[in-house]
Each structure stands twice: as C-alpha cells, then as structure tokens.
C-alpha cells in the first residue's frame, strides 16, 4: 500500500476521538497532525527528526480516527506502514518504542510461533507469580522494564496447559461448524476463556473444531513493523482453516479478529495466497457477535452491575458495539455504561510495553471512568483485560476485568445450563 494522505481534508473532526490527542492536547499527537507529518515527510524525508518520529510512533493504532473520519483516511494503517518502513533503522536510532520492539520481537516469535513456544511462555508466566523466579523472569534481557507493571494485571491463576482440546457435549444436530481460533495470550493465560467459548458455541448448537496447526495471528508483529513474520503465520492459519472443514472461524480476541479480517492486505493481489486469505477473512467472526446471534437461553437476573469497555479493535476495527451488550443482557446482566467506553485503555497490542508512559496515563483514565459500585468490567480482548486489571489493582479495589464470554458462561454455569 502506498501512503496516500491526499484524502485528508484537514477538517479536524477526528481530533477528540484520538486518545493521544485527548491525553496531550497536542496537534502533533492527533490523527490530523500525524497525517500532515506523513505527508510532509513523504515530500521531504530530510525533515525527519526525533520529535516527528515520536509523534508518529505514539500512535496506538486504535483506529478511533478511522471510524469517525468522513473521508475514510486510514491514519492508523498509514502509521503502521510507516513503522514497517522505518523499523529497519540501525540500532539505537529512532524512538524508544522501536528499540523495545527490536529487543522483544525475536523472543515474541519464539514464544508465539508454535505450540511448544506457547507452552514455555505459559510456564514462564506462571512461574513469574513465585517471588524468586518472578524476579529472575522479569530480569531476562528481553523482558522490558514496562512488562513488570503489566504482570500486575495477570490472573491470579494461570492455567497449566494450552486450550487446544475438545470439550464434551457436542450438539446432536449442529447448525454450523466453527473453527475456534485459540490465539496466543488467549491460548495460554486465558485458556479458560477459550474453553468457555467452546461450551457456549456448543450450547448454541454449533460444532466446534480446534485445529492444532493454528498459531498466533501475527498482529503484534504487523503493528510493530515486522509484516514478514505476520505473513508467514497468516499462511499457517489459512491452511489450518482450510483443513478444518469449518465454515466459520470464531475469534474471541478483538485484536486477532480485526487482524484476521484484514489478512488479504498481507499479500499482493496476484499472489494465490490473496484469494485464500480473502476466504478466511469472510469466515472470521467475533465470538461475542456470533454468540449473540445464536439461540442461547435467557439467563436469570444477575445481582451485581457490570460495565463494558469497548476494545478498539472491536468497536473501531470491526464496528461491533451492541452485540457483546446483547449477549450479556440475555445472560441476565445489568449494564451501567461508563463514559468514553470506546476510548483506548492504552494496552494496544504491545504498546504498553513500548510506550509505558502514555499507556499508563490512558490506563488511569480508563479505570477512573469505571462507575461506582461496579463489580466487573467486561472487555473482549486479552490485552485490554490485562492492562485494565493492572490499573484496577493499582486502585486497590475489588473490581475485576473479565472477558464477556466468561461472564456469560458463569451466569449459565450457575444455572446449570453449561
């Protein structure tokens, strides 16, 4: 994709939607500012300086601007393109975020690139809960400083095995056959959510397959500026889908879903992989949206009130806002909305590792907007879950960040339906 900023009419309608503008008040940290910088740098690369690189690299890729822009200017995508081009700057040059990404991208590929790597990742994370080992883990060279605060958002109990198993109770007369996409963080740290997704799909009369061959969607690499890794992994996932015989791919991590709905962007149109990627794209559905369309039973009213955080890659990236709410309401939850529920929490893939200061300001904003008396914050994305949870723990309250699928499963489970 060539970076074409020509569509931007400089109207400024995107400013208040942009978390980094809201946080800093700086035009240069706004979508319009970034588009202008890209435009001028395209004309004259000599203009590049540290500040400009920082303004561009501060972009969360949250796509809030793209959703509101009347001219469909793909700001987030353009910044990503720019990062992919610039990430090859020699070491020690460029914004701090680039340096962090370079340091962790190798280990990321190892851990998330295969089931074996994921098992290791899960082990390391589990051990990190033990004080002595935790310290050792957090001082491994590739673990950035910022990951230490992130680990505060981990669930108290990290599962011992990956989530790639078939659960009981397949439906007798399934109406659809779905491949469960297990992801990387979901597969390890939130393995239970994957189990719950399976249970609910089956409750909704859908047959579930969980191919072993699948792997991380590649979003972290794509957003960080290493599209070639993303491309390889996309090919693996496309093959897993084709072999599975499923007609639907259910994804419960908003970030992965948004990425997989754009797999074709990774390939040239002439490439045979392009058409295959398109077929996968069409099959991908978000778990909450898909579940909301299934005949699940009405649940009994739940006591405590919950609130909903709209992950960027669900709301802005996939236009899904109402479905998780419908699903939760049907399971019996009462929702009290939080202000700016669709403003980025600062997690943004590995942004919280590469840009800890901005990520923490946004995290603070997010947890402060959780209304009084709320028990749980529903968030359909692992990055948001961990990041918001870390923020909530800092507040030393008892509020928990929970995936909506888990909330729904628990409600049905209490009633003995699953």
């Amino acid at each position: 994709m060539e970076i074409d900023t020509g569509q931007c009419v400089h109207c400024g309608l995107c400013l208040p939607a942009c978390p980094t503008y809201v946080e800093t008040g700086l035009e240069a940290e706004s979508p319009r500012g970034r588009v202008l910088l890209l435009e001028r740098l395209e004309e004259n690369p000599e203009l590049m300086n540290d500040a400009a690189a920082m303004f561009l690299d501060d972009c969360l890729g949250c796509r809030a601007c793209e959703e509101v822009c009347p001219a469909h200017v793909p700001t987030a995508h353009m910044v990503e393109e720019w990062r992919a081009k610039e990430a090859y700057w020699p070491d020690e040059v460029g914004p701090e975020g680039f340096a962090v990404f370079r340091r962790i991208s190798g280990p990321l590929s190892f851990f998330f690139g295969s089931a074996r790597g994921l098992a290791w990742f899960q082990r390391l994370v589990r051990w990190s809960h033990w004080p002595v080992i935790g310290q050792w883990v957090s001082h491994l060279r590739f673990v950035p400083e910022s990951a230490r605060t992130l680990s505060e958002g981990l669930p108290h109990r990290v599962p011992k095995s990956l989530s790639r198993i078939r659960r009981g109770n397949p439906p007798a007369a399934p109406t659809d056959k779905a491949m469960l996409f297990v992801g990387c963080i979901m597969d390890t740290i939130y393995a239970e959510t994957n189990h719950h997704t399976q249970d609910l799909l089956q409750l909704g009369e859908v047959e579930v397959v969980v191919p072993q061959r699948q792997r991380c969607c590649g979003a972290l690499h794509k957003h960080g500026g290493a599209p070639e890794v993303a491309r390889r992994w996309a090919q693996e996932n496309i093959m897993a889908f084709e072999e599975s015989g499923a007609s639907t791919v259910v994804v419960n991590a908003a970030g992965c879903g948004a990425m997989m709905k754009e797999y074709s962007n990774l390939f040239e149109k002439e490439d045979p992989w392009y058409a295959r990627a398109c077929r996968l794209e069409e099959a991908v559905v978000d778990a909450t949206a898909y579940l909301a369309s299934l005949p699940l039973p009405d649940g009994a009213p739940q006591g405590a009130e919950i609130t909903v955080h709209d992950p960027c890659h669900l709301a802005h990236g996939q236009g899904i806002r109402q479905e998780p709410r419908q699903l939760l309401k049907r399971a019996g939850y009462h929702i009290q909305e939080m202000p700016d529920s669709d403003l980025c929490c600062g997690s943004a893939g590995i942004y919280n590792l590469t840009h800890p200061a901005m990520a923490q300001s946004l995290q603070k904003r997010k947890v402060e907007s959780v209304p009084e008396g709320i028990g749980q914050v529903a968030a359909a994305n692992p990055g948001c879950l961990m990041h918001i949870q870390a923020g909530l723990r800092k507040q030393s309250g008892t509020v928990e960040a929970v995936h909506p699928v888990d909330l729904v499963w628990e409600a049905y489970h209490r009633q003995g339906v699953v």
Partner: protein, 474 residues
C-alpha cells in the same frame, strides 16, 4: 525566540507545555482552511486562566503577536498563525466547571468540545442548542470567536443567543468578565460585540452558557427531488406556510454522491438532484401535526418521495450523513474550498443557478450543501492543490460567488467567519466608513494589534489616518 522569553514562557506554563520543535509546530500551520500556511513561532498549552494571563503578559511585553486556538476546525484560516505568531492552544482547558440546573446555566472552559456539553446536559433533560456540523470536534471557544451556527440555529438562534457571560483575557493581560447571568446587557452590548470577533479582540477563558430544554419530541422529514429548482421552491413554501422548522437542510447531486460514500451512507436512490432534510420539534402533541403539514407542502411539489424517519436510529443516520458532508468531499476530491455566503431565502433558486453558471465558466466542480432555511449557502469548490491553475480558478470563482451573494442582497459570511480567506472581500460588503468603525473597535481592545494578526479586517486601510482615541474596554 530569545532564550529569556523561552524561559519566561516555560515558567508560565511548564516546560512540557511549551512547544518549539519545528515538526511539532508544522502541524499547527493551518486549520480547516488549507490555502494559507505558516508555522507558528511557538505553541503554549496553558491549563488555567492565570497561565493564559501570564503568557499574554509575556508576549505583549515582548511585542510578539499571538492567537488562541481551539480545535482548528475553522474554515477561513482563523486559527492559522501569521507573522510569526505564538499559538495559545486551549486544548487542556477542557473542563465543564458547573451545571446549574436551577438557573439553566452551564459553565465551561473554552477548550470543551461542543457536543460534550450536550452530552453532559443530557441526563438533566437539557442540551446546548447551537450545533455546528463540526460539533463533534469544534470547541466552545472557537464557537464564541466565530459566532457559529448550525442546522438547528434556524429556530434556536446562533452562538450569540446562547452565551450569557464570558471571562476573558484582554490583549494587555487583564482578566475581565463581560455580560451577566441575567443575559441582559448593561449599557452597550459588549458581549455581542466580542462574540464573533474571530479572536482579534481577546481570549475567552470561561463561558457561561444557556441550557436549552430538550424538546419533548421531534421528527425529521426527508424529501427527494429530481430538480433543484423544485427543492428550493419547497423551502420557501414551507416557511411561507408558517412552519418554523428546527432545521432545514439541502444537499445537491454532487454532495449526495460524496456523502453516500462517506461514513454514514443513507442509501439514497441514484440520480437525485437534491434532498431536503427538515426537522420539526416541540411539544409531543404538536410535532406529528407539524410534520404532517411539512409533508403536505412537500408533496405539492414535483418530488420523487417524501419520507418520515421511522426510528430514532434512522433519523440519527440521516443527520450524521448530512453533518459529515464536508469531510466526505475528501472521497471525491483531494481538496475542497468551502464558501459561506448568505442570501435571502426567496432568491435561493437564482443563487443556485448563478453558482452553477460560475462553476461552468471556471470549469470547476461545485457541490452544494447548505442551511436552506436561513439562506446560508455552502458551495464546495473541488480542487487539487497540485494543479496551480485550478487553485487560481477556484479562488476567483469563490470570490465571484460572494459577489453574487452581495448582489442578491445577502452577505459574504454566514457562520464560517472572514479569517484570512475573506479579508479582502470585506470591502465588497462594507464601505470605508463602516470599516473604519471596525478598525476603531479593534484599536480600542488591542492597541498594539497583537491579537490574531492578518485576520478579519482588510489590510492597508485607506481611511484609517484619523485614528479615533482608544476607549477603555472594560
């Protein structure tokens, strides 16, 4: 800038909030009007009125020009820095300070986004009435400076009708309050004078706004036309029938083409020449009847279809579609130049055919989106900045359109302001005596002429030798 000045500004707002990096400054080189560009000397982001005051004092002592900036959505270059000005960006002063339901007053800082006020008032059953199409982004400080209007101002009035009191910092760095909570001017109407002065007289730091009760009910009627003339006639007839719609908007063929590709397509059938959007509101019992009246008037014309919004969602979509029309131009053209002329409503058909004729003569595509109810035209002249000949034609055609508006008995700006863009066109509308009165006002408020240089008033006043004595501003 001198080191001592930099240090002083840092002391005033904090080092973090003084911007000097050239690339950061570059992003402030223009606002929604992209035909003039200049990087500011510096940008400061104050958080309080005291900080604004300190900054203004430092700059005026050093004789450095400066201007306030809100969201930079101005369409006339109002927020574009000229002559090495310093920008006072008020984005951090974005708090809603108080909602006084009893007295129906909401107190806000200047950097609050227009629609955020309405959102904050919603739970109380109120809203802030003036609704520029840019309301999702533009700030109340910018609205104050431009005396902004919007679709619903036909019935509810523009910004000046909704600001009761203002706290301002003068060019000399004094903090003054203008107006009062009763909303009645004591003596000369200073508040009326400074609202709409495009940032050339002072910087607003806090505003007391009227809260308007939400109408009990509202309905939107949509009419699809195969002929622009019929649509313009329908507009006149609706108003002649005694209906005061809350909003009455029109889009022509090219505008429809663009919005249908934008973020909120409605699904208009192909080949339409114009659509009219008419909103009526009021007491629950009267709205359906008035909507019916509108329906009847419309149906008496050659109209392809007349529809009422079936659901709130449908209505919201029609309006979102209309409100993003300018931005959607980006989908059919690299740039657009929006004009903002006003004409008497009855001359609408004539004005439209003159615009079409001008477009043809200069070979420019022109889309029309406008507040038909109050005769406020927004012809959008499409161009590409890489074609310098086209740029020149666009500017000339724009100027001719304004001339036509004045000839038809109208004015050169409805709501977007004069800014840089229409500075010289001011001479079309005002004679030397009238202009010299305006210079006198400027001089009374800002004798050294530091505030928002190069805007609003035409350059080189031929009639300004006899400089009137400065008057106290407060």
């Amino acid at each position: 800038m001198e080191d001592s000045l930099i240090e002083a500004l840092k002391m005033a707002v904090g080092a973090r909030y003084l911007v000097l990096d050239p690339m950061a400054l570059l992003t402030y080189c223009c606002d929604g009007y992209t035909l003039a560009e200049e990087s500011p000397r510096a940008v400061v982001l104050p958080a309080t009125v005291e900080e604004v005051q300190a900054v203004v004092k430092i700059l005026s002592a050093a004789n450095i020009p400066f201007l306030a900036r809100g969201a930079g959505t101005s369409l006339s270059g109002g927020a574009t820095p000229l002559n090495g000005s310093v920008i006072i960006h008020l984005s951090r002063m974005n708090k809603i300070c108080e909602i006084d339901v009893e007295n129906r007053v909401v107190v806000v800082e200047p950097g609050v986004v227009n629609v955020h006020i309405t959102r904050a008032l919603e739970p109380y059953g109120y809203y802030y009435a003036p609704d520029p199409s840019s309301q999702q982004a533009c700030t109340i400080g910018g609205n104050f400076a431009e005396n902004s209007g919007g679709p619903h101002c036909l019935k509810y009035g523009v910004t000046v009708n909704h600001i009761l009191m203002a706290e301002v910092v003068t060019g000399a760095g004094e903090v003054v309050r203008i107006g009062n909570l009763a909303g009645e001017p004591e003596g000369p109407d200073l508040l009326g004078l400074v609202i709409g002065s495009e940032g050339t007289l002072l910087v607003a730091t806090k505003l007391w706004l009227r809260m308007t009760p939400k109408p009990q009910d509202s309905q939107t009627v949509l009419a699809l036309f195969d002929e622009v003339g019929e649509a313009s006639q329908a507009v006149s007839d609706i108003v002649a029938a005694g209906v005061i719609p809350a909003a009455l908007e029109m889009m022509d063929q090219l505008a429809i083409y663009a919005v249908e590709r934008g973020a909120y397509p409605v699904g208009y059938p192909p080949g339409l020449a114009a659509v009219l959007l008419i909103e009526v509101d009021g007491e629950a019992h009267e709205v359906p009847a008035v909507a019916e009246d509108v329906h009847t008037v419309l149906s008496a014309h050659q109209v392809r279809e007349v529809k009422m919004a079936a659901t709130p969602e449908e209505k919201a979509r029609w309006w979102a579609n209309r409100k993003t029309a300018f931005g959607a131009m980006g989908l059919i053209s690299r740039q657009y130049y929006v004009q903002d002329g006003v004409i008497p409503r009855s001359r609408l058909p004539e004005a439209l055919s003159r615009i079409a004729e001008i477009g043809q003569r200069y070979d420019i595509q022109i889309a029309n989106v406008f507040h038909a109810g109050d005769g406020n035209l927004h012809p959008l002249l499409l161009y590409d900045e890489r074609d310098s000949d086209l740029v020149e034609r666009v500017i000339a055609a724009g100027s001719e359109i304004l001339e036509a508006c004045v000839q038809l008995g109208g004015s050169i700006t409805g709501e977007h302001g004069v800014g840089i863009e229409k500075r010289e066109d001011m001479r079309r509308q005002f004679n030397d005596t009238e202009l010299s009165a305006q210079y006198a006002v400027k001089d009374a408020f800002d004798p050294p002429g530091l505030l928002n240089q190069g805007k609003l008033l035409p350059s080189a006043p031929t009639c300004f030798e006899a400089k009137p004595a400065p008057v106290q501003s407060s």
